[in-house]
Symmetry: C2
Subunit: 490 residues, 2 copies
């Protein structure tokens, strides 16, 4: 019987492994049957001009895995495998996933994939949440990383603590106390692999199906989608220039959780004033509720100093503060943090320990030094200056080229502007036509849970230089005017 | 009225922020009331020998946040805040977390925290899952990382793909096909932040409360605890030298999921032979079930070549293959991978996108190069040689110093040995006494879901050198013999 073995000496797969793979396939698909005697290793070696030890290695591997049996002095035989799996592929027997309730909700919700990642086809991409690579001090970062890569450092050889690398927790706590008005100790700070992970764990710990959650509209759709996977009922209150309208929470609300962005409302912009913050805390006390404070870009404020966190006003431990390094360092770092009230500390730790064993120690150690040695605050100042310049260019270009045809939300902070357009302009058409004109803009509709009063688009400015920003707005204005002309508004 | 302001020029907190903090606190706790006029900035500046612009900055910040109102020509007044939150701390109003069903289960299960992390008090720690830091090629790793830190690399400035950095997915797929017998394309490989994250996502997608899951005992307690948070009923089958006893699955079983470690049963050791693997696949087809193949250390096999994965035998797409870099590179890297059958691809992607936005790109890129440039397979060979030497020392020391008083499980693979002791020895007492003798050993009981027939301990050898291993076993033998003497067995 000719076994039709073909060996390729140029393949990256070792010769013994090629031989093993082919014999194994023959056994599995029944081409050679139980009891069949494999050719002596000497013969295969001679036929294929390979070392006999190569054949022996393949036979030994087949034997170790139970495909063949070796009888001393009698050769190597294909094993009796009475329970041999029928290897014909049977489409009826192919696995079809039967999803859990959670899994089915995930599919129904159909989270938007990889939002904000430029496709590469667009010339000028107003994607938001991007950072401008040339601003980041790579030389310093590389130097800090290199410190923890020395051979006598044993830090890398253990699993880190699930709550995060302690010096980073200390550095974050110090920064938040010093510059964000957060009241916290290092023990309350947990390092996570991003805000989404923290939100997910908190929602799992707190939400049962049917629970009501108060959210902002427009708002952070990543949170909406997540809460819905737990079967939560979202009650969305339309924000105004002062953010979340606390006074509009209906007396009938059963919510014991609210998700808000007080420092810079996402995506509309605007800061929640003190009186509303205090009202929100009073609501939380009266409703026995918890507040998630999403401070995704509170550091990036261009007029005056950053606004202190809502968390710092709270005396009831009813605020969970969520922050991220994605916006102010770089997104691919995958590090965020959460400041927990004491009653959530143990549940959150236990849950982290079960579902994820923490973020990489190396980057955590480097970020801790980055903060402790003053690079972080220096970098924030530079970001505010650089992004502030871009923001001014964008606002000036909007004023000049779109003039009365568009209005925009407050822009004291953050990395994007939300632009409102006349109702004659169709949002989807605008986004498509802008793309055709080589400009990437993002529809506002997905962030709304109510029916938006006006069409809107989001323009992120953090990934572009001022020349690109101006050119992009000129092209966008051309598209807007042409659409208005078609609709007869001009 | 004296405001009792104290400013410290040596503090890392800026002077304006110190002033702001103190005035803010006075307003919040009612020491100064709405309508109170703050001293002119000129006066505070003079009293405290600071620049007037510092005082102005503090006042502007208080105004921006709504604490004070400025009237042109009339000074700065504490705002009317009719809704002012009562700031006395009231223990009755302090938030007490009301946990979800999942959250309550997490607390009941009480996951063991930071298992395997040495406390630093023990002299010789047989902790398992550790790696030996001096084996890792830090110079190569540092060089690979440095490549991706250059200023003109824009890779870091975008969020990565949630499924992982594509070149790493390709590299892992190639490695798994070439050396682990896994049948997969790069698209089936998803990079995760560790095996636990992958298990968590899969369990969430698949398990409803009350669902039955087949597991091994002793087995991986991290999976047991996780499955239980979903309300799963675990049916544990006691393993033998050939791993999971497929033939003992009762006909009455309703399980549609099995969690197994075919390459090297955890923690007992032993490899599932071909006939059992085929039986398990047949069971899965007949029960319309899915199999989680946890190949946590399949690369680290000391006799012969690594055993091919169960996944490679499957033709029904009923096996999810789970692997990790924690054991073979270093734990603090926090990278693992999962190979998905096609029916789980979309649900897993959608879920990843909702709950975590993927692992850091930097380390993924470096690991991809580490694999593609041959360092990974070289490193595996070196690990097998170095750890093989330690394993031999451990086994020889056990034979010599514990002799007939202990038996051990198969040790062809992995990073630890499970040692069985006479029933006269109490496991907990042994662990405590060993710690007193300066030896860290780990009880086998937490890995059992049945009542173990014999006491057992786990001895990890990957974090120790051969001298420490021998010395550790000598001390351990002393403790065992003394305990047996006390119990009258000697």
């Amino acid at each position: 019987m000719d076994l039709s073995i073909v060996l390729d000496p140029d393949s990256p797969v070792p010769l013994y492994r090629q031989l093993y793979d082919q014999l194994r396939a023959m056994i599995l698909d029944g081409r050679i049957q139980p009891g069949f005697r494999l050719p002596p290793s000497r013969k295969i070696a001679a036929d294929h001009h390979i070392a006999r030890v190569t054949v022996t290695a393949a036979y030994e591997q087949l034997q170790a895995e139970g495909f063949v049996t070796s009888r001393v002095g009698a050769g190597t035989y294909v094993s009796e495998l009475p329970e041999l799996f029928p290897h014909q592929v049977d489409s009826a027997s192919k696995y079809a996933a039967s999803l859990s309730t959670w899994g089915r909700r995930v599919l129904e919700i159909g989270a938007s994939d990889d939002r904000g990642i430029p496709t590469g086809r667009r010339t000028i991409d107003f994607g938001f949440g991007r950072s401008f690579p040339h601003i980041f001090p790579y030389d310093i970062w590389r130097r800090l990383l290199a410190r923890y890569l020395s051979t006598d450092d044993t830090m890398l050889s253990h699993y880190g603590s699930v709550a995060g690398f302690y010096p980073l927790r200390q550095a974050v706590a110090g920064y938040l106390r010093r510059l964000r008005g957060v009241r916290c100790t290092a023990d309350q700070v947990i390092i996570v692999s991003g805000m989404q992970q923290a939100l997910d764990l908190l929602a799992r710990l707190l939400l049962n199906s049917g629970d009501e959650v108060l959210v902002e509209t427009p708002g952070y759709s990543g949170a909406f989608e997540l809460f819905r996977t737990f079967g939560a009922r979202l009650r969305a209150l339309p924000v105004d220039e002062d953010g979340f309208p606390v006074e509009q929470i209906p007396a009938s609300s059963q919510a014991r959780l609210a998700f808000v962005t007080p420092s810079n409302q996402f995506p509309r912009g605007g800061t929640m004033p003190l009186s509303r913050r205090l009202s929100l805390l009073r609501w939380a006390r009266e409703a026995n509720a918890l507040i998630f404070e999403d401070d995704y870009d509170g550091e990036l404020r261009y007029t005056g100093h950053p606004i202190s966190a809502l968390q710092g006003l709270d005396r009831d431990e009813r605020v969970v503060y969520l922050g991220t390094f994605s916006k102010v360092l770089f997104p691919a770092l995958r590090l965020g943090y959460v400041v927990l009230p004491s009653s959530l500390s143990n549940p959150f730790h236990q849950a982290m320990n079960l579902v994820d064993r923490g973020a990489p120690t190396l980057t955590q150690a480097a970020v801790a030094d980055f903060i402790n040695e003053g690079h972080f605050e220096r970098h924030l100042r530079r970001l505010r200056s650089e992004y502030g310049r871009r923001r001014r260019s964008l606002v000036e270009a909007i004023e000049r080229y779109l003039g009365d045809d568009a209005s925009y939300s407050p822009v004291e902070a953050g990395l994007h502007v939300m632009l409102y357009l006349p109702s004659a302009v169709d949002e989807t058409v605008l986004v498509t036509e802008a793309a055709n004109a080589g400009v990437g803009v993002y529809p506002g509709e997905p962030y709304h849970l109510d029916r938006p009063a006006q069409p809107s688009i989001l323009l992120g400015f953090s990934g572009l230089n001022t020349g690109e920003i101006i050119e992009g707005v000129i092209r966008l204005a051309g598209v807007v005017h042409s659409l208005m002309h078609k609709s007869g508004q001009r």
